[in-house]
Symmetry: C2
Subunit: 225 residues, 2 copies
DNA sequence: CAATAATGATAGTAATGCTATTGTTGATAA
DNA sequence: TTATCAACAATAGCATTACTATCATTATTG
């Protein structure tokens, strides 16, 4: 029996909810594969349609443009990580332990059991690492922020900040540390793989242990009293 | 008398060296202004040419495409920050003091005296903050890395890592801390301005003091023995 | 002053980023 | 069972983008 998770996202992200139809799911599935394959700059709806054997016009019925599709994927990932954190920390009392699990989730979300058949979480993780920040480094950021398009990131970040505060209530930068942990997790996997002189950690195959170890070390040095 | 700095960049970044001609300088100048104005996604060579009253073909004689132009600007910025660090730390003995100056430079490079008349450093800084990472979050990163297109970032990062090692030779992640300081400086200015719930610092007008204070705090907590 | 390099002017082409229209299919409801 | 309707496919079309090519003109330099 498959467990069915329904990730809830801001309705403004899409024209028609892709989770509701089989064509919608197909769009998500192939978008993830294709962006990973050719990169976000080369990705477009015509190529996507060709790949999934549908038409450009049909894709446009689900997403306004490729930026919104990326934002949808990124939001989906934020929400998914948030969900993973919830289920993994549910019964854990010790906030330090919870924070460790959070770090592990940031780094290794992609190693989880696949939750949804049309989303390849491992490949999506690669997209987040490479293309993720492009979703909010845009000219229209304030407008989209007003429409609540980045709420999933904020919620995730605030969830983590709350745990940081539990670990050390006097630490003055819990939100910054929370968002930085997420960004750093992605960045240093990327650096290790592509620009290794910008980091100290090594990543072989899909072994991100050193990244996790580094984040743990930094975090608990900052939070120790 | 104007002080004349010549920033040296990888020749592969451009087709013709823009620092050598007045048209080249004009391209740099107006590219900075226009990217800041309309964002990198909307920016293109036709618009740039129109703005500077030249032609598209002429711009293409200097840069292969807009990605290379962005990479040129980002490299220029890395190199300029590197230069600022050199002159500001030149006579400082104490490595902790040098590191503080580095942090200040990361955050406030844009407040420096303009060094080159055709580069508005303050506006360039805004571009780095918003668009900077797009220069290396690309599909072709490995190929471009092989050609040495990111050397300026690496050198900057290694320069900072060396000082970090001086402050605390046992700290296990000097390179990661170095690159993270640079990324964090930019990120948290951006967050404070656009997505304030992702950070704890406030930025009013062009006052980045809180970002600087935060980076100092984090850095020296990590490095204290 | 001759030669040559840089730029401007113009045109053109393939790809991109859409929108519109019309036809087909498959599900639902009367 | 058929009428209705929504979703999707098929096709076309158009403005913009991302270049490349050619040729004329203007600066530079030897």
């Amino acid at each position: 029996m498959a467990i069915s998770i329904k990730i809830s996202l801001n309705q403004g992200l899409y024209q028609r909810d892709p989770q509701e139809t089989s064509l919608g799911k197909k769009i998500i599935k192939h978008a993830i594969l294709l962006i990973d394959e050719i990169g976000f700059e080369s990705f477009n709806f015509k190529r996507l349609a060709a790949r999934m054997e549908s038409t450009e016009a049909s894709v446009y019925r689900y997403f306004e443009n490729k930026h919104m599709l990326l934002l949808y994927l990124v939001s989906w990932y934020w929400e998914w990580v948030s969900y993973l954190i919830d289920i993994h920390t549910m019964n854990i009392e010790d906030p330090s332990k919870r924070l460790k699990i959070i770090i592990q989730t940031f780094v290794k979300a992609s190693k989880e059991n696949p939750a949804i058949e049309y989303v390849n979480e491992s490949i999506l993780h690669r997209i987040i690492i490479t293309e993720g920040t492009k979703a909010y480094h845009i000219k229209q950021v304030d407008k989209e922020n007003q429409e609540g398009f980045f709420l999933n990131y904020k919620h995730l970040s605030e969830k983590v900040a709350a745990v940081i505060k539990e670990v050390n209530p006097t630490f003055p930068y819990p939100r910054a540390l929370a968002s930085n942990l997420f960004e750093m997790a992605n960045n240093h996997i990327y650096f290790a793989q592509h620009l290794p002189r910008l980091t100290d950690v090594k990543v072989e195959q899909d072994n991100f242990d050193e990244v996790e170890k580094m984040l743990e070390y930094l975090t608990f040095r900052l939070l120790e009293k």
